[in-house]
Symmetry: C2
Subunit: 339 residues, 2 copies
């Protein structure tokens, strides 16, 4: 093989918003699989907000990426060499294969997928971790019921677009929150949400108009001003699915101790019997992946579920694309076409 591997390393830990120099693009020899391993050629790399946490060595639910190690990330690709009986050359696989072109990985860490139902990159969004996140969070915490009002922040993003479509399928009135006219139009016209609030405008006035009777299910992806506007509008027995608070991911480590911006007074949690609960899909979510994938492919086949990806070409552009992700400049699920 005369090809080389191309990889993005974490050069140093970002302080605040990541900068291009926090990453290094390197050429390396293509790794050689050991017994039981498979060599994968990554076709698409998923870029997701959780990666900001992996760049920090603050205490978290997962270990940080080491300095000068390849950045973590999910990919879809194809098997180009196999020393495992479980995979054959040409198989389409997904796995946590990192910001790189090639990866030699133990067979047990890969999942074979069918490649025909949806565009390949959609396995990283609608049918990947973000879609699974949406499905698990609604099943376990959001519990949407027909006739309820659901509000989804970051509605055009990887998770939000799936949450809202699942809410519609459950019979909810679904209101998105997104930044700018183009995203809001996509949310209502393509994804079929009932309305979409532009967070660059007057949040309170728009939420008053879109949710005159309050909010039963709020899907939290962002925190900050959006959370503050939603909070007093939660109805009795409301559920707040705490998936992320991207608005503060660039804050100093330990921001939940003394340095964090204050949150809402919790008095209404008692009075309104609210449920505010966080979850992380990697805890046990992947155990339910087969059921999730089957259900989602059913929705896709029935024309009830679609998705939009924002495809950036080339690993050399991955770092800049990730920086933009934390600023909301992507439009749809952000993926990198590796080559």
């Amino acid at each position: 093989m005369t090809e080389t591997n191309l990889a993005v390393l974490l050069a140093r830990r970002p302080v605040g918003a990541p900068l291009p120099d926090d990453f290094t693009l390197v050429e390396q020899p293509v790794p050689v699989p050991s017994e039981g391993e498979v060599l994968v050629r990554n076709r698409f790399l998923s870029l997701d907000p959780y990666m900001r946490g992996r760049m920090s060595d603050a205490k978290s639910y997962a270990a940080p990426v080491a300095i000068n190690a390849v950045m973590e990330g999910a990919t879809v690709g194809e098997v180009v060499a196999s020393r495992s009986p479980d995979f054959a050359v040409g198989d389409t696989v997904m796995g946590g294969n990192g910001w790189q072109r090639f990866c030699a990985v133990p067979a047990a860490r890969l999942r074979r997928i069918t490649a025909s139902e949806v565009p390949l990159e959609r396995n990283l969004g609608l049918l990947g971790m973000p879609g699974l996140t949406a499905w698990v969070g609604l099943q376990d915490i959001g519990l949407p019921r027909a006739g309820e009002t659901m509000v989804v922040s970051a509605a055009s993003g990887a998770v939000g677009q799936v949450v809202g479509q699942l809410g519609r399928i459950a019979g909810c009135r679904v209101i998105g929150i997104a930044g700018g006219r183009a995203k809001c139009d996509f949310v209502t016209q393509t994804l079929g949400f009932d309305a979409c609030v532009d967070h660059r405008g007057d949040l309170n006035a728009q939420l008053d108009a879109a949710c005159p009777d309050g909010i039963d299910v709020y899907w939290e992806n962002v925190g900050g001003a959006v959370q503050a506007a939603v909070w007093p509008r939660l109805r009795d027995f409301g559920r707040m699915v705490m998936c992320g608070m991207i608005a503060q991911y660039n804050e100093a480590p330990g921001a939940d101790a003394s340095g964090a911006p204050a949150g809402p007074n919790l008095g209404p949690v008692v009075r309104k019997r609210l449920r505010v609960q966080g979850f992380i899909v990697s805890d046990k979510g992947w155990q339910r992946y087969p059921q999730f994938r089957a259900e989602m492919l059913g929705h896709v086949a029935a024309g009830k579920m679609t998705a939009r990806e924002d495809v950036v070409r080339g690993l050399a552009n991955a770092a800049q694309a990730f920086i933009g992700l934390l600023q909301g400049s992507n439009f749809g699920k952000l993926v990198v076409a590796v080559d």
Copy 2:
């Protein structure tokens, strides 16, 4: 019958902390039961923090007491006249019979209880709404498991004392929080909690010492500084049972909108997968009362569950006792011996 009824009316809506003049003690004729009603002579009246909400006409989960109406409250007493086939003179009953000596009430609103297992007034605490509150909140939200660390605020209070004892029965290490040496001693020596933190001292230092590995279950009765100290100590998958925030019950109506003190930043809810959930026992809790009572009487018989009541003598002292309740001056479940 030559006796008269004695009743406490709500004279006006308190602004901030209730004052004695917010209530009026009146003598009235003894009510005469209609067909299907029962005349109850109340022996003990329960005083509980939720009553502060009934004095306000701010939007809440229950309607306010009208001005010049008898204050709401649970009582235990005996049937002195019956026009219902379901109750006989001499039966011991509990019900929402108000701050008064006599009450004529539809039979369906009363519950007959056995009077021998515990002192009569204990049916308003350990075996009443506060005990049921503790039991329901732990069953539905707290979900204590053996080996976990549980922290209970207002630990010597009506609900807190039951929560902590149930936590011990579930195999938790249980830390109380109470005000002053006498209450803390009671919590550890009589109730058998593993430790008790005095909130008049240095909360953070005491919690560091008592909960070096953090907190799995926090029972929230108070809010304010105690909540702020507990919040960063919650462990992954921690549960915060939102039962009350008595520290702010005297604040202005609508305190959860603009006027409320800020709460904790919710970022850790995601990262730690916390569950923060409120509940109100009157929603569906009483449907489970028979199971609750049977279990609790089993614990009492086994010597694993006790309680302390703070008995105030005479309806004329009820208003002052309630005012003190909101300031933490009671010691144990506050009840009024009506006569």
